[in-house]
């Protein structure tokens, strides 16, 4: 499990308008590129310093590449990060207010308490 790295992906894509569009249009390409180039880029260290160990599990990589918010929820990704980024990518396809958010919830209707642990 590398919940932290999944959260890092959601967080770093969400804050970059170009990456939001790239992830929407070419999710698998974006995830592959990001894991290779960005996963180990430390966010607040000297330029160029990189970690040596972060990588997705196969299940995490597939969930991200498939835009599968249900799988991300079940893997323990932080639900605020997933929701915020997915609204940015897909709300525009649902012109009626809150339709996307309600469909997002309906897809998770089978989930029951306790929800998956989001601790990182």
């Amino acid at each position: 499990m590398s919940k932290y790295l999944v959260d890092k992906f959601l967080y770093t894509v969400d804050r970059d308008p170009e990456l939001v569009e790239r992830y929407r249009a070419e999710p698998r390409e974006c995830v592959t590129w990001w894991e290779r180039e960005r996963a180990c880029a430390a966010l607040n260290l000297h330029t160029g310093e990189r970690c040596t160990w972060l990588e997705f599990t196969d299940a995490e990589r597939e969930a991200l590449a498939n835009h599968d918010h249900v799988a991300l929820f079940e893997l323990g990704a932080h639900p605020f990060l997933t929701l915020t980024l997915f609204i940015a990518m897909f709300e525009r396809d649902h012109p009626e207010p809150l339709t996307y958010q309600r469909g997002y919830a309906a897809a998770l209707a089978h989930e029951s308490l306790p929800y998956p642990d989001i601790s990182t």
């Binding site: 804050r15 308008p17 966010l43 607040n44 918010h69 605020f80 919830a105 989930e111 601790s119």
Partner: protein, 286 residues
């Protein structure tokens, strides 16, 4: 010494700004009640005639990230830029700049550290909608200096609820021991039951109206012991997966003490219940 002239505890709803600034004809049906309640609430701060605001909120993964998470952080800067690209994108929130009050920040940091809270600090803090929503609702002219206080209600492991109450009590003592003639208001925003990114989000009401009813009673009655007896880090997952934001209300209950609120109101909206509370620790002119 400084005077604590008002304590405000309220929800923060990032959709309010856009809803209240739409042309009348385009506003949703619930907008009129919402705007009326917020404007009435704004009056409760106006009546206290504050000079400076201590504002309690929580970063939503904007400046604070999982590589370095402070549990409690106090801003100390002459200015705070505010709001982020993704808040403009999702909520239509504008960017703004708030003035800071470095002297009061320094007093709270020194006193907090000496009182047993190992507070983090930031000299360059960009605050998000947890701080700007109450500016839009209760002080839209944005004319007062602030001291922002951030809490972690977002990323486990979080401090225990009682620690939020204790910090609230300590912040009040620090404000009231600040050698100044300034009139200080403390404003904190949190949530009642709330679900984000889960199956119960964006329903016709908050995810747990029963919790909301109890929470409103605890706050309105200053029932700190009642809240502490039923609320734990574990139990807060049940009313909704973002309900740990209630701990910011508990912090403000610590500030207000075991006193009934002088003003209490709420509004049942889709997705979440809005709630508005004000205390006047030394009374208020009528």
């Amino acid at each position: 010494m400084a005077e604590l002239v008002a304590v405000l505890a309220t929800t923060h709803h990032p959709f309010y700004y856009r809803t209240s600034t739409l042309p009348e004809a385009e506003r949703p049906p619930f907008a009129a009640d919402w705007v009326a309640k917020v404007e009435a609430y704004r009056e409760t701060l106006e009546r206290a005639r504050p000079d400076v605001l201590v504002m309690v909120g929580s970063d939503h993964f904007h400046q604070i990230w999982l590589d370095n998470v402070p549990q409690f952080l106090v801003g100390k800067a002459p200015f705070y830029d505010a709001n982020f690209y993704n808040e403009e994108r999702e909520f239509g929130l504008p960017r703004l700049t708030l003035r800071g009050h470095e002297e009061l920040s320094a007093h709270i940091l020194r006193g907090g550290l000496d009182a047993g809270f190992d507070l983090a600090f930031s000299n360059e803090l960009r605050v998000d909608h947890s701080i700007t929503c109450p500016i839009f609702t209760v002080r839209p002219q944005n004319d007062l200096p602030i001291v922002p206080v951030y809490t972690n209600i977002f990323a486990p492991p979080m401090p225990q609820p009682k620690r939020f109450v204790e910090l609230g009590r300590t912040l009040r003592e620090l404000v009231e021991s600040w050698p100044s003639t300034q009139r200080v208001a403390m404003i904190g925003t949190g949530h009642l039951s709330l679900e984000l990114g889960g199956p119960r989000q964006f329903g016709p009401h908050g995810p747990d109206p029963e919790f909301d009813a109890k929470a409103v009673e605890w706050i309105a009655n200053g029932d700190i012991e009642g809240a502490l007896s039923e609320v734990s880090l574990e139990s807060l997952w049940e009313p909704g997966n973002a309900t740990h934001g209630f701990m910011d209300f508990m912090l403000m209950m610590g500030v207000a003490g075991e006193n009934k609120a002088d003003y209490a109101d709420n509004l049942d909206l889709f997705h979440t219940m809005e709630a508005y509370f004000t205390w006047y620790p030394s009374g208020v002119e009528t």
